[in-house]
């Protein structure tokens, strides 16, 4: 997708007015919120939808015969249908509500592990995965005697793509599962997952996509991608925390064993045997986060009121501006320079004069120090390893400073951050 060529018709001030938190002051300064990859802010509509559930129709779903239960059930299932349409799933029952991407991926690993993995099999991930798409596959591999394999990445932060000609060794006859992020949370790289999935499918490999960072930025069409499972969180796409989705292709979900027991996931229980409910309830044990689901539905409706490509183009212009301005700082190095990126910029500040430092002039700057001094100036960025420690190791850094943008951010805010960074660097060197 070439975002740079799209001319945005986009009113940032109108968008900003919908986010009450943007009027807050931090250390007496207007909040500049650039930590959207960790969690996005919420528009008033979403906050209202969640509280309206508690204020007017709070009841448990799918059980009661009373009016409130019916209303709550209808609202929840309307949200499921909204999400279905948004990702173009074939059926609403292919949309499973979880607590978030991490839970979705744990469900996937646990259930697919049981269904598919045996000794000698391989699970393929990439070198840029979030811990949430590494650790549970390690657990599954340990349990079934399978091996975890990793697609390497280039210095610019792009996958060394496995394919028959380019890297024949990555997919092997033993590969059973490909689990990969659509967009890297640390680098911003948009991975060519459609191509990868097509390659995997040819070999009968089940594909799982961590879409946490893609869903707020890109149109996602699960049928077009051809993936088997696709995971994402609500809270990174303007919805409440504690709610997420696992999309699954119906035929596969039917075969997958349940993950957690209890509540709505049962059909009939005797002490001898339990039969399971039909999709999606087979995978939704216990009382769901009904308010969160309703909030998620509202967040999707909010997004769809805008031209998603205009939003993406606006974020891309922020990224381009920030990249250009930040690179003017002596010693600043961007980690993740892929051709296709979302609005995420991750950087380190190396010593300006690597051959030797006179006193401390020109010394490198630790991301923690920078993050702290930016916070003092009202700017929220993320610092650290971003839950991608193997990736940090790949680039030989202990952590980075990451600014991640949303449609409500402005060029002026980028300028505030750049000026604040310069000030902090001056204080620290």
């Amino acid at each position: 997708m070439t975002l740079a060529t799209i001319t945005p018709v986009f009113n940032v001030e109108e968008i900003r007015a919908q986010f009450p938190i943007l009027k807050e002051l931090v250390h007496g300064k207007p909040l500049v919120y650039f930590d959207n990859a960790a969690t996005s802010q919420k528009p008033r509509r979403v906050i209202k939808a969640e509280s309206a559930y508690y204020a007017t129709i709070n009841a448990n779903v799918h059980r009661g015969v009373h009016t409130l239960s019916t209303l709550a059930t209808e609202a929840q299932e309307a949200a499921r249908e909204t999400v279905r349409a948004h990702i173009n799933a074939k059926h609403a029952h292919e949309v499973i509500f979880t607590s978030g991407t991490t839970a979705s991926l744990n469900l996937a690993a646990s259930s697919l592990g049981q269904l598919l993995l045996k000794k000698g099999d391989e699970v393929l991930i990439s070198g840029m995965e979030h811990h949430a798409n590494i650790v549970q596959w390690q657990l599954a591999c340990e349990r079934y005697g399978a091996k975890l394999k990793v697609i390497p990445i280039t210095d610019s932060g792009e996958l060394v793509i496995p394919g028959p000609t380019r890297n024949p060794g990555v997919f092997t006859d033993h590969t059973k599962i490909l689990a990969i992020s659509h967009v890297s949370n640390t680098l911003g790289t948009i991975n060519p997952i459609k191509e990868l999935i097509a390659e995997a499918k040819k070999r009968g490999i089940i594909t799982v996509v961590d879409g946490a960072q893609a869903i707020p930025h890109l149109p996602v069409d699960v049928q077009d991608l051809g993936c088997d499972l696709y995971a994402f969180s609500g809270h990174k796409m303007y919805a409440p925390t504690g709610i997420g989705v696992l999309y699954g292709r119906e035929e596969l979900l039917e075969q997958m064993p349940p993950w957690q027991g209890g509540g709505e996931m049962i059909d009939q229980v005797t002490f001898e045997k339990t039969t399971y409910a039909k999709l999606p309830f087979k995978f939704e044990a216990g009382t769901p986060h009904i308010a969160g689901i309703i909030g998620l539905g509202e967040a999707v409706r909010w997004m769809r009121d805008y031209d998603l490509s205009a939003m993406a183009a606006h974020e891309h212009s922020l990224l381009e501006h920030a990249t250009k301005e930040l690179l003017a700082i002596d010693g600043l190095r961007i980690i993740g320079t892929a051709k296709e990126k979302v609005g995420v910029i991750s950087f380190v500040i190396d010593p300006a004069h690597p051959e030797g430092l006179e006193g401390r002039a020109g010394a490198g700057v630790h991301h923690y120090d920078l993050g702290t001094l930016l916070d003092q100036q009202g700017i929220a960025v993320r610092t650290g390893h971003h839950c991608t420690q193997p990736l940090m190791e790949r680039f030989g850094v202990s952590g980075t400073t990451r600014a991640s943008f949303a449609p409500f951010n402005t060029i002026a805010e980028v300028d505030v951050m750049v000026a604040a960074t310069k000030k902090a660097v001056k204080m620290l060197r």
């Binding site: 250390h27 630790h366 923690y368 120090d369 702290t372 001094l373 610092t383 620290l428």
Partner: protein, 140 residues
Amino acid sequence: MDTTLEQAQQEIVDEFAMLGDWQDRYEQLIELGKELPLIAAEFKTEENLVRGCQSRVWLTAEPRGETVHFTADSDAMITKGLVALLVRVLNDRTPQEIMSTPLTFIDRIGLREHLSPNRSNGVVAMLDQMKRYALAYSTK
């Protein structure tokens, strides 16, 4: 020691009270951090590492007579400045004094965020570790 631990804290509070805005306070911390390493290079080992989420702190402690002697360092400058202050306050004091005096100065010099439960800076972890050393030496 001529001053009590409480007096040492008060001295720091008084010093910082003369500094105006956030920039002056942080510049002071960074200056403290920029001073010579507080720990010899050979002690910057995995064993002496106190894990914060983002910045690393190294800490050593040894009993000296009735008191505990600390050295420490950090890879982040602001953390290092805070660590320098902690060492200044707690160094060469008796385990009883270290364990019984509440440390309030970081909050009082307007740097409360560094005592927050988010594990980003390692200061809280370092403080816990210093108290654990004090406890260990007090029971010997």
